[in-house]
Subunit: 156 residues, 2 copies
């Protein structure tokens, strides 16, 4: 039943281009235990088989969907146990979905503020600049969230 032909082995660079994950990132995933340490050549170079390729692709897809590495760890774990119920996977996805939804709402509120700001600026001196003025006076209009949270935190 098991395959008699061993799967081809690739270097870390080949794996990187195959998956779209950068080389240092792959090593980083290994370091934090997301990826198992692969076998090495005599000279110490990593060799990856198809299973590793699939695992890394999974990770990459999950990252593209915005899951954090902890969630991905759980999802990988579930994926390794196909006989378990999938409730947990769904829960992770739905939690993430609600985070995303919330974040969108925050950013939309932010966008409204920002476009109002720059629309009102008529381009004179700073002393008359709406942008600067708003920053001086703005008291978090619709000041619902008092909870120390900085609304946006994105580095694309």
């Amino acid at each position: 039943m098991a395959s008699s032909v061993p799967s081809p082995l690739r270097s870390i660079g080949t794996l990187a281009t195959a998956t779209g994950v950068k080389v240092p990132t792959i090593r980083f995933y290994e370091q934090i235990g997301l990826l198992a340490p692969p076998p090495r050549t005599a000279s110490g170079r990593r060799l990856y088989d198809d299973a590793a390729l699939r695992r890394l692709s999974f990770i990459r897809h999950a990252r593209q969907l915005g899951f954090d590495l902890d969630a991905i760890r759980s999802l990988l774990d579930l994926s390794d146990h196909p006989d378990r119920p999938c409730g947990e996977a769904n829960a992770i996805a739905e939690r993430h979905l609600s985070d995303v939804t919330e974040k969108i709402a925050q950013l939309q509120a932010l966008r409204t503020e920002l476009s109002r700001m720059s629309a009102e600026c008529a381009g004179g001196r700073v002393s008359a600049c709406k942008v600067i003025e708003v920053l001086h006076d703005h008291d978090l209009c619709a000041a619902e969230d008092h909870r120390a949270s900085t609304v946006a935190d994105f580095r694309a």
Copy 2:
């Protein structure tokens, strides 16, 4: 013309509650040069006047609007020179606005994907789970951005 009454002085804790910025954060802002080092008491405690209060409020408002500290540095600088033209302030705001807009679009695409995923999951075993399946197969549908960027990066 200048006021004869000196403005009242407050401790860092009082400043913190007045502005909603936490004490360690205020010290952090000082450390990175966003806030000038204030005068101290004989025993070394920081004392803040009204100008410092205004400056910190400005910073907080700008953070709530999602500006990064570098942008805030520029905005503060502009705010200190009211005679300059406000084009730069506007440019900063508009750049930020377009970043926010872009991020919203990304997150909306993400949300679509995620809700499709969890909607399709019927709650059986992991082997039949759409969530896991998508992560295995997903090739970034509408795969426009190939540019190594992780779509979402948010810690609220």
